[in-house]
């Protein structure tokens, strides 16, 4: 699969989560080890649901786990409406 523009900190988070293995993470999120590996290597962008599940395992918010670069699609941060 092609490399996605969404990078992540999963490897780092796994290391700090008592050196959790890819298989352990895969078991906890209901995915295969190969999928966790592909996500870590930024070769696969997970669905929102899977992204939330991964973030929940580490007790983080999704945007703390996944990073989407600002200049990728020309979008700019506007002031929040809320």
């Amino acid at each position: 699969m092609e490399k996605t523009s969404i990078s992540n900190h999963i490897r780092h988070l796994r290391f700090h989560a008592d050196e959790m293995t890819q298989q352990e993470l895969a078991d906890r999120i209901g995915a295969t080890r190969q999928t966790v590996h592909a996500i870590e290597a930024a070769k696969y962008a997970p669905s929102l649901e899977l992204a939330f599940r991964i973030a929940r395992v580490f007790g983080k918010r999704v945007e703390e786990v996944f990073v989407y670069p600002e200049s990728q699609d020309g979008t700019r941060h506007e002031k929040s409406m809320y």
Binding site: M1, E2, A26, D27, G30, A31, T32, R33, Q34, T35, H37, A38, A41, K43, Y44, P46, S47, L50
Partner: protein
């Protein structure tokens, strides 16, 4: 190697085994290879045997493993495989329909022996394309898994 990739390899092996046996059964061993008929038969039997063993091992392992076997990425890759298979089937259908259209016209001037041979051709063509379509699905899946 993921389990789904193993299944894709197994499917290709089965397809090749089936296709070789089918073609040998329908069309016979090519005359150019007639001298090696015994060896070819042995090779065919070995391929079928290896396929049977491979499928049995996979089935037995499947019962042991309690982990997730297929997830969203596998389904995405599978859908790409189905897309490739669909394209193969569409090309096959277009060729077959084209052939059926011109078959009537050909009857007026073609050699009768040639025509008689042509009549059973669509059936064999469909069988071969069925195998080609499923193989295309497996090949696309393996390619996607290999790419990461």
């Amino acid at each position: 190697m993921s389990r789904q990739e193993v299944y894709a390899w197994a499917a290709i092996l089965s397809n090749v085994a089936f296709l070789l046996v089918y073609l040998a059964f329908v069309f016979g061993i090519p005359s150019a290879l007639a001298a090696y008929e015994g060896d070819l038969t042995t090779v065919l039997l070995w391929i079928v045997f290896i396929d049977l063993v491979f499928q049995s091992v996979i089935t037995m392992q499947q019962r042991k493993v309690m982990r997730v076997e297929k997830d969203e990425r596998d389904r995405l890759i599978e859908s790409r495989g189905y897309k490739a298979g669909y394209h193969v089937f569409m090309v096959a259908m277009v060729l077959l329909i084209g052939h059926l259209f011109v078959q009537g016209e050909m009857a007026s001037f073609a050699d009768p022996v040639y025509l008689a041979r042509m009549q059973s051709l669509p059936l064999h063509f469909l069988v071969v394309m069925l195998v080609a379509g499923t193989s295309a699905k497996s090949i696309v899946q393996i390619r996607a898994y290999r790419a990461g």
